[in-house]
């Protein structure tokens, strides 16, 4: 009996080990067991108003506890002083941006800056006099966004160091992600922030060192995780009109001067931002996971990802919206978008692990503060008269998405922005498609959406349109400050990556892609991945080598374009001439040819127009409704192998196409005339730069379509002419 029990126990243990092994790609410890905090901050900051009652000045004290979580002995520290990007026109940020970013221009005379007044190791060395500005990315001696502090006593592996820092800062007029406007302020990138020490091998580095870049125009941020405890003192007018990263732990009014003290706390984040505006309408609503997500949806995603339902279930989140009074009619729209984002990102990539989420609506003329993400906190932005288009929904979903691709999977946005912005563009389009369908495009005049343009751009085709308007001067995988220009940086980081990800998804299938993304997110949650880590994840989950894909479309700039070059379908006829038949010579003359029954000889020529290659599917449709479908089944040693299938007869045959060859002719004999030849019939390959040449028909003039759109354009021109003519 004992033996039986032992055997049963062993079997049970083996079974669970197998189960664990089966799920090893999907499950790992990172999601619910964040790593030890590396950079934790306790900050006391007082916000002061200037003579015009603008919230401009900060006086702060911070205690930074930093853990040397590497095997290296560290002899110096490096810090970001981001606000110095706005100090003068000589900063790297100002030089790169030309003083304007995302349509906003900096205001001369309303500069921002930060001074470190004191820095010392708690109870030990005073480092203040040793602070020096460095410029790791360029030779701009005037840039003051990074400081280096040599240490008399190196920090050994596993050691912690606590620094006491005093700083003063002035916020710029809102221009690029931070600043004040009127009585509003978005206080972001506002405190001395330690860089990230990367040991050799981390993020594929060859040698250990600080990753502490200067503030660049087109790049965002990169930092280590830690715990934040921030006390904020603000003037009385801001009582109850504040929002910040994390959970508000206390609010107290200072009896002496009427100022208000707030205390916020959040663990396992890598940044902290806050905002104030006496005009805010503050609305808090709970995202109740059980109400928002149906059991069937949890079941569907559990099966899709091969995970137990317990890992799919989400948790409740307290969502706070700080919205401008003139946008009060859009409160529900904000929450609906946020709840959809929490739901779908949670189901797909893993639950949102924080208790709070704060959404900020910046005031008019402070749009430079809009559309920016910080842990558990982001700014959105909307129009005064919102139409039926997906504004503000798109920006809300997108900024929330950064909680996953920048907040939790802490991508280095300086060096590999596509891993955040591009992944997020891809994810955002998926949420919007599910929650809202295709976007519409209003014609706005005098602030009113008068009508919607007759253009249909279903998600994610907007990425294709944006991408193809630009030229591929750079690979996607380019450090942000090394892109050819702002347009190249934006196109590659956002929509072009979106196209790459959507093409990959359509090629792999939604289920497999879902597993790839889940695995990547879970594996790298609370960590810093590199691009190669994503490539490795794709290869591991799909058990295929996708180097050909990433080399061409992430590391390369080649254009992808295949076309149906020619389509022919002719009634098969007996050849003319003299033929030996039954031992006799029979002549078939041109005017007495015999029909060879009901057969047609068809040929389809496919041409690779661009330099890049891809295994395209091919669909042929015939007059009698029959179809022939050609599916690429293998790509190896420069050959794409195709399997053809006649859907009526079920007959299958193979053919192949060498990648280096520019064209391939496929020939068929069928009982019916070929009507349409279509490459990539499901439009999986959105990277194709010309979808129009992916099909050819043997008939069809397009006259009706041409008449439709020409007459439509003519109508509007006639209307305009009538208005003009009215003056005559």
């Amino acid at each position: 009996m004992k033996m039986v029990v032992v055997l049963c126990l062993r079997t049970l243990v083996l079974f669970f080990i197998c189960l664990l092994g089966f799920n090893k790609f999907i499950r790992n410890a990172s999601a619910d067991n964040p790593p030890r905090p590396v950079a934790s901050y306790k900050i006391d900051v007082k916000l002061k108003l200037d003579a015009k009652q603008h919230p401009t000045d900060l006086e702060g004290r911070q205690q930074l506890t930093w853990l040397n979580n590497s095997p290296d002995t560290i002899t110096d520290l490096q810090f970001h002083l981001y606000l110095n990007a706005f100090k003068n026109e000589e900063s790297t940020f100002m030089k790169e941006s030309g003083g304007q970013l995302r349509g906003d221009r900096n205001q001369s005379g309303e500069w921002g800056w930060i001074d470190v007044n004191e820095m010392k190791i708690a109870g030990a060395e005073d480092l203040t006099s040793k602070i020096e500005f460095i410029h790791p990315d360029d030779d701009n001696a005037d840039d003051q966004t990074v400081i280096r502090v040599p240490l008399a006593t190196p920090i050994k592996p596993g050691e912690k160091i606590t620094l006491e820092i005093k700083f003063s800062a002035r916020l710029p007029r809102v221009f690029a992600r931070t600043g004040y406007w009127g009585q509003f302020a978005l206080v972001a990138q506002w405190f001395p922030k330690i860089g990230v020490w990367e040991s050799a091998g981390e993020r594929r580095r060859s040698s250990a060192g600080w990753n502490c870049h200067q503030f660049h125009a087109m790049s965002e941020f990169y930092a280590d995780f830690g715990n934040y405890e921030v006390s904020i003192n603000v003037p009385a007018i801001y009582k109850g009109k504040i929002g910040a990263t994390g959970k508000m732990e206390s609010e107290s009014v200072n009896g002496q001067d009427g100022t208000v003290n707030y205390k916020f706390r959040q663990d396992n984040v890598h940044d902290f931002a806050w905002t104030i505006d006496p005009n805010y309408i503050v609305v808090t609503r709970p995202f109740k996971a059980d109400d928002q997500i149906k059991p069937a949806e949890i079941d569907q995603w559990a099966r899709r990802l091969g995970l137990p339902q317990s890992q799919i279930k989400l948790e409740d989140v307290s969502v706070t919206l700080l919205i401008q009074p003139e946008h009060r009619s859009q409160i529900d729209r904000h929450f609906f978008a946020a709840f959809n984002a929490i739901k779908y990102f949670g189901l797909w990539y893993g639950r949102y692990p924080y208790a709070t989420l704060t959404i900020v609506d910046p005031p008019y003329n402070a749009e430079g503060a809009g559309g920016m993400e910080y842990p558990t906190f982001f700014t959105a932005g909307t129009t005064w008269w919102a139409g039926r288009d997906q504004n503000p929904e798109e920006v809300i979903v997108h900024e929330y998405g950064h909680q996953y691709w920048q907040g939790m999977v802490a991508t280095n946005e300086f060096e590999e922005s596509w891993l955040d912005e591009g992944f997020n563009t891809y994810s955002t389009a998926k949420v919007l498609k599910l929650a809202y369908g295709a976007n519409v495009f209003p014609f706005r005049f005098a602030g009113i959406p008068w009508f919607y343009l007759p253009v249909e751009i279903p998600h994610p085709y907007e990425d294709r349109i944006f991408t193809l308007q630009g030229k591929f001067n750079d690979p996607i995988l380019t450090p942000t400050w090394k892109f050819y220009d702002e347009t190249s940086a934006a196109l590659n980081s956002y929509p072009r990556t979106g196209l790459v990800m959507n093409t990959l998804e359509r090629y792999l299938g939604e289920d497999l892609m879902a597993r790839v993304m889940r695995e990547y997110h879970q594996k790298w949650r609370y960590r810093h991945p590199a691009s190669q880590d994503f490539f490795d994840t794709v290869n591991a989950v799909t058990r295929q080598d996708f180097a050909w894909f990433f080399d061409q479309f992430v590391r390369g700039t080649n254009t992808l374009d295949y076309e149906i070059a020619e389509v022919k379908s002719e009634r098969a006829e007996t050849a003319e001439g003299i033929f030996d038949k039954d031992g006799q010579k029979t002549e078939i003359k041109a005017d007495r040819r015999l029909d060879s029954g009901q057969s047609y000889e068809s040929e389809v020529v496919i041409r690779r127009v661009g330099e890049a290659y891809f295994p395209y599917e091919l669909l042929l449709r015939f007059q009698d409704g029959n179809k022939i479908f050609a599916k690429p089944v293998a790509l190896r040693e420069g050959i794409i192998e195709y399997q053809f299938e006649d859907t009526r007869t079920g007959r299958k045959w193979n053919d192949s196409w060498a990648i280096k060859e520019r064209w391939k002719k496929f020939e068929f004999t069928t009982p019916s005339e070929l009507k349409v030849a279509q490459l990539d019939p499901e439009e999986k390959i959105l990277l194709d730069s010309n979808l129009t040449n992916n099909s050819k028909t043997t008939s069809g003039s397009g006259l009706a379509a041409a008449t439709r759109w020409a007459s439509g354009a003519m109508f509007w021109l006639q209307t305009i002419l009538q208005i003009v003519g009215g003056f005559g």
Partner: protein, 354 residues
């Protein structure tokens, strides 16, 4: 005003030949762009599934981008936008000149001989008043320019407040107010120059500055009647046009027949715009002649049946008109300018009383 409004509507509605003529001119000016788009679609989408998609759905944005990238090398959305803008400017200028030409013919037709349309009469009017109306057009540009300058000043003030604003609501209301001011000023000037043209034709004047001043004086003296009539016709015209445009847009153009129906509706909508233009002229002509009595010597006998709604209709005097021009005519007008009893009359009786 109401009588003039009704007269305008009835008479314009009977003038289908003139509406057709104006419509044809409008179509001819619009044709080059329409033809370009037609050929572009035929050349790039024919023989592909893109044509099917564009007939079944809204504009295929993918096709637009593909066309730009592959069929029109060197072009971009921006460059095409600029070229389109230039094309619109040139076409618009040409159409403006043609409308200036037609204005003389339209007023000539409605002002004399009971408003009967003949090609000869129409073109004669076009030729007779073209250069005078061009001068009026140039003079009107001064007033439009002044109005636009006033608008810019007001807009500048709003922009100053906008730069300091933390809410858009207050800004947009001010912007609307300023924009409304511009529309009202433009509409008023447009109306004044309609009366200047009418006055020019009626009196066969060649002094355009004087006609402009007279027209302003007339419009301001009878502000509520003139501007009320203008707005009433504008609202009716815009409503009819809007209705037809809406009907057109609600058609699902997925077959050749539905495309044809949409074309018919769109041309009907444009025809309504022509009708509105004619209504302006007829009604304003009617009102003008009700409010500004003619010199006694040029009154012609009229048929009672025809004056029910067309007090303005009369026969062009040939020789007598020349004799009473200038100071004499002015003297004749001066003592009886805008007598109240004249305004209220619904027919030509008042003129006989003069």
């Amino acid at each position: 005003m109401i009588s003039s409004f009704i007269a305008g509507i009835l008479h314009a509605s009977r003038s289908w030949k003139m509406i057709l003529l104006l419509l044809v001119a409008n179509i001819l000016f619009s044709m080059p762009l329409a033809l370009s788009i037609f050929l572009l679609v035929v050349q790039t989408a024919s023989g592909t599934l893109a044509a099917d998609r564009m007939l079944a759905n809204k504009i295929d944005a993918s096709w637009i981008i593909d066309v730009f990238n592959h069929q029109m090398p060197g072009y971009s959305l921006e460059s095409v936008g600029i070229q389109l803008g230039l094309l619109l400017a040139v076409t618009g200028f040409g159409y403006l000149v043609v409308n200036t030409l037609f204005a003389g013919g339209i007023i000539e037709v409605f002002a004399f001989d009971d408003g009967r349309f003949t090609m000869r009469k129409f073109w004669a009017g076009c030729g007779a008043y073209f250069w005078r109306f061009v001068r009026l057009l140039l003079i009107s540009l001064i007033f439009y320019g002044v109005a636009y300058f006033i608008y810019l000043l007001a807009r500048g003030l709003v922009n100053q407040t906008e730069e300091r604003a933390t809410a858009y609501e207050s800004v947009i209301y001010k912007r609307w107010a300023v924009m409304l001011l511009l529309v009202v000023m433009f509409a008023f000037i447009n109306m004044v120059f309609d009366y200047a043209k009418i006055s020019t034709v009626i009196s066969d004047s060649r002094k355009m500055f004087r006609e402009t001043i007279n027209a302003f004086r007339f419009a301001l003296q009878h502000f509520f009647s003139t501007f009320g009539l203008y707005l009433l016709i504008a609202i009716i015209g815009i409503s009819f046009f809007g209705l037809l445009a809406w009907l057109r847009s609600s058609i699902n153009q997925s077959s050749a027949m539905s495309v044809l129906l949409a074309i018919i509706l769109s041309q009907a909508a444009i025809a309504v715009r022509m009708w509105t233009r004619l209504t302006f002229y007829v009604a304003e002509l009617d009102l003008y002649q009700r409010l500004v009595p003619e010199p006694a010597t040029i009154i012609a006998p009229r048929q009672p049946a025809e004056v029910e709604f067309l007090s303005a209709t009369r026969t062009r005097p040939e020789e007598e008109t020349e004799e009473i021009r200038g100071e004499e005519a002015a003297e004749l007008r001066a003592p009886v300018e805008s007598p109240p009893e004249m305004v209220t009359r619904a027919d030509g009786e008042g003129k006989e009383n003069i």
